[in-house]
């Protein structure tokens, strides 16, 4: 990588270090805090009785069908909603800060006035954001594996790796969506509203559609279903799930890059 390209990545990557550190701390606390309760949860007969009294549809919607198994506990506590939603939110926020946020603040102009193409500036920011998501995935994976070992939560490492990778790819997809909106509009409001809003809609579609006989067949519309539709904590995820998320991300990034190269750049 040339010094110019390296700088176009290093600048936005470094600018996000506080946010990256913050997300890392929250992820670690969330994972360690959840897994730390596993021994008490596993040994509690009252909780098992209480869960068996809840409606099956409710348990399924919130991923709590099998809460007393290691995979069920992790899914219900972390990987059905919390971790993928945090990855999606992190992706949208990192992407917004690196693109529309910078443009809105008038700070992109300094770089776009240099001998670089708009695509190169855009691509540098995309790589920086994907880099942070990859780093967060490593943090999540490491804290999950260490916590599992420390608190006796027995689950195959490969299942955890698959699940974390799919959650991170889901975050990348929503980051791609945020970059696409930023490329088109260049304003933080629409980027955050559409990015975070569609992340929530995606979760609701994946969680609620399977409860309806009419809508069940349409759950695949949600990227959440692509990522976690067959429980990757229980059985190996099909490669097509990784490919679908990566392809969707690439397509959204392409839309953002093309749109950004064709429009006016906003000033402060």
């Amino acid at each position: 990588m040339s010094g110019r390209r390296r700088q176009l990545v290093a600048g936005p990557f470094g600018a996000a270090w506080r946010a990256g550190l913050g997300w890392s701390v929250v992820f670690v606390l969330m994972i360690v805090g959840t897994v730390a309760f596993w021994p008490a949860f596993r040994d509690s007969t009252e909780l098992g009785d209480m869960l068996s009294d809840l409606p099956p549809g409710l348990l399924e919607a919130f991923g709590m069908e099998d809460l007393l198994s290691p995979a069920g506990y992790l899914r219900g506590g972390l990987y059905d909603v919390v971790v993928p939603l945090m990855f999606a939110a992190a992706g949208v926020m990192f992407a917004n800060s690196a693109s529309a946020g910078e443009e809105d603040a008038g700070r992109l102009e300094l770089w776009l006035a240099q001998p670089v193409t708009r695509q190169a500036v855009f691509a540098g920011r995309v790589v920086a954001v994907l880099g942070w998501l990859a780093l967060l995935a490593l943090v999540v994976l490491a804290s999950q594996l260490v916590s599992d070992a420390a608190f006796g939560l027995e689950i195959a490492d490969a299942r955890v790796v698959d699940t974390v990778a799919l959650c991170a790819l889901l975050g990348a997809l929503y980051a791609g969506l945020a970059f696409a909106v930023a490329g088109i509009a260049g304003r933080p409001g629409p980027v955050l509203a559409l990015g975070l809003g569609l992340a929530l809609v995606g979760y609701l579609v994946a969680a609620l559609f399977p409860l309806s006989d009419v809508l069940e067949g349409w759950a695949w519309l949600s990227p959440w279903d692509w990522a976690l539709g067959t429980d990757p904590l229980v059985s190996p995820a099909e490669p097509v799930r990784f490919v679908a998320l990566a392809t969707g991300t690439a397509a959204l990034l392409a839309v953002g890059g093309i749109a950004f190269a064709r429009r006016d750049v906003r000033s402060a």
Partner: protein, 310 residues
């Protein structure tokens, strides 16, 4: 460009630094630029004058390919900013009017980052400029005042060793001493063959720095010329003391005399046009003293902006 066109261009010399033809820029229903034609010669300091909202920054951002024209063509250093933007920006340096800098790191780190993107950095020139601009390279960016941020922008612009400097309101927030230093840097750049395109609403700055100026009003260029030419287009105040009664009849018949006033032997008026007819009248009568006040650029500018271009 085909071979014959290239030969013709070579014979005609290098293209102008900036050539703008029929430039129109609309923001939705608002027309910011209404058909600008402008040519900036190589090696000159060109002042781009106009009040806020006249379209100066919009024009400049079209030069940089930050904005896409609605209509018209823009050519900078012989290149199309959209098609050849990267090559063009390697040859020019730009100081935005609303300069927003990263908050992270020190001035030295920012300068190094820009140097890496531009592909070169002369540390001796950087240090020399920092001394001249009284800028501490070790200061953290987030601690800089608006004036010091402006100095960072100036340092980056003059460090770039560019063929064309595009400076939008460059002295905003600078104290008088630094404004003086800025003018010295502009003169040095011009002496070194650099073209300087200087947008400003500060008339004194343009008067001292520019070889030629254009005045922009509501998205239209209403005057282009040298500072002296522009001054010549403005109205002059005339005051004559006659030895006897002023020749009222003859003076009344003269064209271009406004705000006439006679107070005893003193005649005063504002002359809007050539002075020769007035002088022809005066030489036929005994005149004890005559004062013709040369308008300054500010008067010319205000006249032009008031909608009375001459």
């Amino acid at each position: 460009m085909d071979a014959s066109a290239a030969r013709q261009q070579k014979a005609a010399g290098p293209p102008p630094a900036i050539r703008i033809t029929g430039l129109v820029k609309d923001y939705g229903r608002v027309r910011a630029l209404a058909g600008i034609d402008l040519e900036v010669r190589r090696g000159e300091v060109f002042g781009f004058l106009g009040p806020n909202g006249a379209g100066k920054t919009t024009t400049i951002r079209c030069l940089l390919d930050l904005l896409r024209p609605t209509a018209g063509t823009v050519e900078v250093l012989g290149l199309d900013p959209r098609r050849d933007g990267m090559a063009l920006r390697a040859r020019l340096a730009y100081l935005p009017g609303e300069l927003r800098l990263p908050e992270r790191g020190t001035v030295r780190q920012l300068v190094a980052s820009i140097g890496r993107v531009r592909g070169s950095l002369d540390p001796r020139r950087r240090d020399e400029l920092a001394v001249r601009l009284d800028l501490d390279l070790g200061r953290r960016m987030r601690d800089l005042s608006s004036g010091n941020r402006r100095k960072v922008g100036l340092l980056l612009a003059f460090l770039a060793d560019a063929e064309l400097l595009v400076l939008d309101e460059p002295t905003n927030g600078l104290d008088p001493l630094m404004q003086h230093e800025f003018l010295a840097l502009v003169r040095e750049a011009r002496d070194a063959g650099t073209t300087v395109f200087l947008s400003s609403h500060v008339l004194s700055e343009v008067r001292r720095a520019a070889d030629r100026v254009a005045v922009l009003r509501a998205g239209t260029i209403i005057a282009v010329g040298t500072v002296d030419e522009l001054r010549g287009r403005a109205r002059q105040r005339v005051e004559a003391w006659f030895a006897g009664d002023p020749p009222v009849g003859e003076l009344d018949r003269l064209p271009g005399l406004e705000a006439r006033a006679i107070d005893g032997r003193r005649f005063s008026a504002v002359l809007d046009g050539p002075i020769q007819p007035l002088l022809d009248v005066l030489v036929r009568h005994p005149v004890e003293s005559l004062v013709v006040e040369d308008p300054d650029l500010e008067e010319a500018f205000l006249d032009l902006y008031a909608g009375t271009p001459r």
